[in-house]
Amino acid sequence: MKGAGEPAAGAGRAGRSAVEIRGLRKSFGTNEVLRGVDFHVAPGEVVCVIGPSGSGKSTLLRCVNLLEEPTAGTVRVTGVDLTGPEVDIDAARRRIGMVFQSFNLFPHLTALGNVVIAQRKVLRRARPEAERIARELLERVGLADKVGSYPAQLSGGQQQRVAIARALAMGPEVMLFDEPTSALDPELVGDVLGVMRGLAEAGMTMLVVTHEMSFAREVADRVVFMDGGVIVEEGPPSRVIDDPAHARTRAFLSRVLDPAAARIGDAAESDMFRAADRDA
């Protein structure tokens, strides 16, 4: 576990890491979803988190902006300890953009209204300025002609791009993406990934939970594989995706990359890998 050693070294130099997580645990009742995660994201880095469903990757992401309260451990974002007693969580969240699997656009507001409202209510920007910024961002995500449309009138891909613009309007230093394309029809995935690729190229710090292996391979600086509430392995995509060291990672990737082949004897095989994993 390459990441485990590094945060300890970086901890004394706050601000070095955009996101820094140490000893993170999260339980829902008796169900422990995260069992001690250590992990960091450097400024400008794009990190993709992959893993089977139920592995805790979405919970990890939601702990980074404290939508879920960690049971134990520390979460630092741009040097601010979100788990500390004195933290202004609303101020901290302004610097952390979040994009949800189900978009969560505000259905009573237009695309423009969705991008404007937090600028007005949180950043106290004047309406003309907020609208100018919103129009620029909507144009940047390719929706200049949809500013007046309500979410119900937009396709899933368009809604998700509005959601990205909405998050960017706050000027975040880190962007979190929680399976941003999982709820989309296949032909709409490309537009959203295109916007995300553009963001990555512009130097945004991004933490992306995704099942899009080709995106991870192309765009990510680092890929983190999670299973059973821990980080199993992490490293550059060329290593984790194309030459995984761990049996569990290989089992997961074979299912994701080649679903047809995986369906044959899927259960038995993954059980075997798990057994091998425990022995190792």
Binding site: G97, F100, N104, M170
Partner: protein, 280 residues
């Protein structure tokens, strides 16, 4: 003959050789016949001449105008509006207390709702008319009769609307609050700008029904002891019926209620239909 009876048995013949369909026709015909006979019986037995003189006396009806509108209808509208306004504000407050994480708030809200939903509105009017002056000597409820009637109606409406508004707030998906919080909005800001506006869109039809109920219940103001100028439709109609020894004013007052309530009901139905279609 044998073939025919076999066929009859197939479609469920009853003793007597009737098919199920035929029996249904006979039963429906019997119901229509009974209904028509009842209508005819009432029409024949009623003394139409006395009815016309007592309930639809044109001269008496004409003598009511314009006061039935400028006093009766106007006061009914004012009492209803004040009661609805107080109920809306109070209902929102009690609904938020009911959903609060602070236990005493929840206890108070639950107790309030149970008490004021369980009491007859007449008792609440008597309580406001008699109890409040006794409890707070020298204190005048602002707005005179309108204030008193509005307060009594508002106390009861608060309980009903609190439950409606709570249901509306709970019907807004959890992701909406999460999206708002992730943009850096405080909990109360997110409720005000995102959740509550959506909740009210959901509950417009039941709120309209509540308005119709309040309009009718405002007739209870006659138990407060009011001046001639403060009479609403029911009191106005009853008084004039007594003065003129003719029941026509009651009918006119009744029609005035329908002038308010039927459009509101139609409006509620239209809003409901629009909501089912999922439009905005």
């Amino acid at each position: 003959m044998t073939a025919k009876s076999a066929e009859a048995a197939e479609v469920g013949a009853a003793p007597g050789g009737l098919t199920r369909r035929r029996r249904r026709q006979l039963s429906l015909g019997g119901q229509y016949g009974l209904f028509a006979a009842a209508v005819v019986l009432v029409a024949v037995l009623a003394d139409w001449e006395t009815l016309r003189l007592n309930f639809a006396n044109w001269d008496v009806a004409r003598s009511l105008f314009p006061d039935v509108i400028t006093v009766g209808l106007r006061n009914t509208a004012v009492y209803t509006a004040v009661g609805f306004g107080l109920g809306l504000g109070g209902g929102l407050l009690v609904a938020l207390m009911r959903l609060s994480s602070v236990p005493p708030y929840r206890w108070f809200a639950t107790a309030y709702i149970e008490v004021f939903r369980g009491l007859p509105l007449l008792l609440i009017f008597i309580f406001v008319g008699v109890g409040v002056p006794l409890a707070f000597p020298g204190a005048n409820i602002p707005g005179g009769a309108a204030g008193q009637a509005g307060l009594a109606l508002g106390l009861a409406a608060t309980a009903y609307m609190a439950e409606t508004i709570r249901a509306g707030i709970e019907a807004v998906p959890k992701g909406q609050l999460e999206a708002a919080r992730s943009l850096g909005m405080s909990h109360s800001r997110a409720m005000r700008s995102i959740v509550i506006p959506q909740a009210f869109r959901i509950i417009i039809p039941p709120l309209t029904n509540e308005l119709v109920l309040l309009c009718k219940d405002s007739s209870l103001v006659l138990f407060l002891g009011i001046t001639l100028e403060q009479r609403e439709l029911t009191k106005f109609g009853r008084d004039l019926a007594g003065e003129q020894g003719n029941t026509t004013p009651i009918i006119v007052a009744g029609i005035c209620y329908l002038i308010i309530t039927i459009p509101l009901s139609l409006l509620a139905r239209r809003l409901e239909a629009r909501q089912r279609r999922g439009q905005r």
